[in-house]
């Protein structure tokens, strides 16, 4: 083995060891690396109790309601399996829409209501002009009426 082959073997071996170490560390910290919990995870008790955490999911269609005090907004976050009702008094971001992704930070109260201190909109990876969006919406509506 020439010295340079030895050096390359050392570099390759080092990188492999480093990669495995990184994979193990990331695997161990798995639960700390998630930005939010889904309603299903919250229901199964994976989310921290009595502490603030973030939940993420879709805003359920037709669930957004303004409370009588005029400031608090209430909406349901769903991952299509489980749901959590969220109350938030503050300004919602521009991209906040029913049927779109959302991430809320806050605590679950005794009554099961999630009181948020911050609400962020989660954008999806789809970029399309309004006409295309319109066509997609129409197709969704058509699919729904067929089901009914």
């Amino acid at each position: 083995m020439k010295p340079r082959h030895k050096r390359f073997a050392l570099i390759g071996g080092g990188l492999a060891v480093l990669g495995i170490a990184a994979a193990l560390v990331l695997n161990a910290f798995q639960s700390n690396l998630v930005f939010f919990f889904t309603p299903t995870q919250v229901a199964s008790g994976e989310a921290p109790k009595g502490k603030a955490f973030r939940i993420g999911g879709l805003v359920k269609e037709g669930s957004l309601k303004r409370q009588p005090d005029g400031l608090t907004m209430q909406f349901v976050v769903t991952d299509t399996a489980k749901e959590i009702t969220v109350a938030y008094s503050g300004i919602l971001p521009d991209l906040f829409r029913e049927g779109k992704g959302v991430v809320a930070q806050g605590k679950v109260g005794d009554n099961g209501l999630f009181t948020a201190t911050e609400v962020l909109a989660k954008h999806d990876e789809n970029y399309m002009p309004p006409e295309a969006q319109h066509a997609v919406d129409e197709a969704h509506k058509a699919a729904k009426t067929v089901k009914q």
Binding site: G56, V103, L120, N126, Y127, M128
Partner: protein, 250 residues
């Protein structure tokens, strides 16, 4: 050379690479201008408004190419660093040093434009999610590489120390790329990837790809310019440099 095959190893010597780089630079600048103008034209005048984000989405024409470049340049830098460690070639280390500032610039652009987009769209400038945090670490890796190399006076030792740091940091690149797949993040998933058809309108995609090409050409042009400066600085005592028309006192 005589049998018609280009002997690429010939260009691993600074003396032959210096004039070659000098000849290539204007071409890469011309391509930067061509791709950049076409990309900006499509980005601003042809690509349609986004259904949800309105005009604000147009930041992707800078944000995505800059993010791609920041990751790709790091891989190229680590590649040269490994070659330098393995073959003990002088030029490899110079290439790695020349790429670092451009990589850092791209990582910074990616973070900065992302923050500008995040405020109106998400509702926040910054969150500590896996994608954003790992990209920030990439930015710090570039800065650390530059700082480490400048802290060591002996160029060859600086190359070696920098190379080890660059290689260790390579672990971060797949983490950045796959972070949106492996964990829940606020950052959206990839709109364009090799494994599925892109989830964006055609003209938007074209604008983005042209801008990505422009960023590629820009990075090559700037890095070649920088590597020429590094060659001049490190080889200043070599005879061939004293013979250069741009160096020779007239």
């Amino acid at each position: 050379m005589s049998n018609g095959i280009i002997n690429w190893f010939r260009f691993s010597s600074p003396q032959t690479f210096y004039p070659l780089a000098g000849k290539l630079i204007p071409w890469f600048w011309a391509l930067t201008a061509a791709f950049g103008l076409a990309g900006l034209y499509i980005g601003f005048f042809v690509a349609p408004t986004d259904a949800q984000q309105g005009e604000g989405y147009r930041i992707i024409f800078i944000h995505v190419p800059a993010s791609w470049m920041s990751m790709f340049l790091y891989l190229v830098m680590a590649f040269w660093a490994a070659l330098g460690l393995g073959f003990n070639t002088r030029l490899s280390g110079m290439m790695a040093s020349a790429l670092a500032p451009t990589g850092a610039l791209m990582a910074f652009l990616s973070l900065w434009t992302g923050a500008l987009w995040g405020k109106p769209m998400w509702g926040t400038w910054w969150v500590w999610d896996a994608r954003l945090t790992s990209e920030l670490i990439l930015f710090f890796l570039y800065l650390g590489f530059i700082a480490l190399q400048s802290a060591i006076d002996d160029a060859r030792r600086a190359d070696k120390a920098g190379a080890v740091l660059a290689l260790v940091g390579v672990v971060n690149i797949p983490i950045i790329y796959f972070s949106v797949k492996w964990w829940n993040t606020l950052h959206q998933g990839a709109s364009v990837s090799l494994t599925k058809s892109p989830s964006m309108a055609q003209t938007m995609l074209w604008g983005m790809l042209l801008m990505a090409l422009a960023f590629w050409m820009y990075s090559i042009a700037v890095s070649l310019t920088r590597v020429r400066a590094i060659i001049l600085e490190r080889e200043r005592h070599a005879g061939w440099i004293e013979e250069l028309s741009e160096v020779k006192p007239s």
